[in-house]
């Protein structure tokens, strides 16, 4: 056990490197300083920008209301003595030598490391088609800038491939710009992977009410360009074609963990495994001492959900997990905290504020406990085996805290309280989540029950999927 003396020594002389200079990396750096860590801190980021906020990139930026550079996150001025290495991706981790190798050939030594490399947009599967002029993905500031310019030029139609949160928000942005937009979704409705079919059907209606040409259970099979390499039309799985000059590929995210593949850590497409204290687990599922993980790339066991390993691609999770990780990096072992926050996320689309607490995908059943589906103003609660596991609100955010506390207390499902604006009939129906083993485009919460002990059998070197 580390003595107080050793702890003080680490706070004074230890060197901390954070790989990933986005929301999680920034939050961790801020927490290290507020926790009293005075040693050197380096933040390494593959993009040339200081940390910026991503939610506006699919909402206010594409409609041209705010420029992408306004998304830069505040407070970094307080980190005057932090060293930034921006525009340089990390390429390798030497666990034994405690070094990070960078793409520019430099290596950086550390005493403790935080991995916060996040995710990137899943590219269109056909590289030649993906490189056609007019085919976009949306993840970073540069993506948002390109897309904003293209939308401002007034294309005759925009095709959004994938009806997850990013795709749905982009479709909403197109309609705000009065652009004709088609959304293709592999599932039965947009957002079905995150919210289940009952609520997703309401989201589908919302899209159609706002003039979206929504095509569900349809995929894009190929993108066709002209002789100049510009997108001209899309071929769909129902045999139809769609003439369009702009296609946005919104098929979810891929975790940026390839740089760690030979590191000896438990790493794969699922992310980087860690314990609830954000300490990375190694290839043998044994917790490491000096490597920590936070944000979208982290996969951790959540006590509230039967210790299942979750990767949460949420704004709030990036902040909270990074704060826990940073605290645990510099505290005495006995003072370590678990990351047990109830997951939460929000979306704003077609004039409706969608918010969620808990893990909807952990549910079997759903019931509307306040309001009604018909007016897109309601609270939906999700349950599993008689326990409340999540709540989703459409324009009812004021109730979210109440439901979060119920989830924390493992309240019964269906809820027994008498609420205001309660529907007359309250019988739970199947929530309608797609088979988790079937391929999906976008799941905001990934629940697979991943067990680190099983990783050995998958650890034979193989080609990584991109």
């Amino acid at each position: 056990m580390r003595s107080n003396g050793a702890r003080a020594a680490f706070k004074d002389s230890g060197r901390i490197v954070i790989v990933g200079a986005s929301l999680a990396g920034l939050s961790a750096a801020e927490t290290l300083r507020t926790e009293g860590f005075t040693g050197p801190v380096m933040l390494i980021g593959d993009e040339p920008y200081l940390p910026y906020d991503r939610p506006p990139l699919s909402k206010t930026v594409p409609i041209g209301w705010i420029p992408p550079e306004h998304t830069q996150l505040p407070r970094h001025e307080t980190l005057t003595d932090v060293e930034w290495r921006l525009g340089v991706p990390a390429t390798r981790l030497d666990l034994a030598g405690k070094r990070v190798h960078l793409a520019d050939g430099y290596t950086v030594a550390f005493d403790r490391l935080l991995i916060a490399t996040g995710t990137r947009a899943r590219p269109w599967s056909n590289p030649a088609e993906a490189s056609l002029e007019g085919v976009y993905t949306l993840r970073g500031r540069d993506d948002a800038q390109r897309l904003r310019q293209r939308l401002a030029a007034g294309p005759r139609r925009v095709l959004v491939i994938g009806g997850g949160f990013t795709g749905s928000e982009l479709a909403s942005a197109c309609r705000e710009l009065d652009l004709p937009v088609t959304v293709t979704e592999r599932g039965s409705a947009p957002l079905v992977g995150a919210l289940g079919s009952v609520i997703a059907e309401r989201a589908a209606t919302l899209q159609r009410q706002h003039g979206v040409d929504l095509r569900c259970q349809v995929t894009v099979t190929s993108l066709e360009g002209d002789a100049q390499g510009r997108l001209r039309r899309a071929h769909l799985s129902d045999g139809s074609t769609l003439d369009t000059e702009v296609a946005v590929v919104a098929l979810g995210a891929i975790r940026n963990s390839e740089w760690l593949r030979d590191s000896g850590l438990a790493v794969g497409r699922f992310g980087v495994g860690c314990d609830a204290g954000c300490r990375a687990i190694d290839i043998n599922a044994i917790v490491t001492d000096d490597i920590f993980v936070a944000g979208d790339v982290a996969r951790f066991p959540h006590p509230l959900y039967d210790y299942q390993f979750l990767a949460l691609e949420h704004w709030g999770n990036a902040v909270e997990q990074a704060q826990v990780a940073a605290h645990n990096m510099v505290c005495a072992p006995a003072d370590r905290r678990p990351h047990v926050a109830v997951p939460a996320f929000w979306s704003s689309q077609f004039g409706v504020n969608i918010k969620s607490v808990g893990v909807p995908t952990a549910a079997e059943e759903v019931v509307i406990t306040q309001g009604s589906l018909d007016d897109a103003c309601f609270v939906a609660t999700y349950g599993n085996e008689g326990q409340l596991v999540a709540a989703v609100t459409f324009d009812q955010a004021k109730w979210l805290e109440h439901y979060r506390r119920l989830i924390e207390q493992a309240a019964p499902f269906p809820p027994t309280f008498r609420g205001v604006d309660q529907p007359t009939r309250m019988s739970p129906v199947p929530a309608g989540f797609p088979d988790p083993t079937a391929p999906t485009h976008e799941a905001t919460v990934v629940l697979t029950g991943y067990d680190p002990n099983e990783r050995r059998v998958q650890w034979i070197p193989r080609r990584y999927h991109t």
Partner: protein, 60 residues
């Protein structure tokens, strides 16, 4: 109050410009003071004008 900086997206979601022009300072402060649920928190960093509604972003 400050339509170039804040706008309601539908009934509930508040959209905002995280880095408004310095000329908007007076409007921003007035809008924050007038917010019926007092959910707008304004911070002015030394270098530039910027506001942050923290975790309450999106709740008007």
């Amino acid at each position: 109050m400050a339509p170039d900086v804040f706008k309601l997206h539908g009934e509930e979601a508040l959209w905002y410009d995280p880095a408004p022009d310095e000329m908007q300072r007076e409007h921003v402060l007035r809008a924050a003071a007038a917010c019926p649920v007092q959910a707008i928190q304004v911070e002015w960093p030394r270098a530039a004008s910027r506001e942050n509604t923290g975790e309450h972003r999106g709740i008007a």
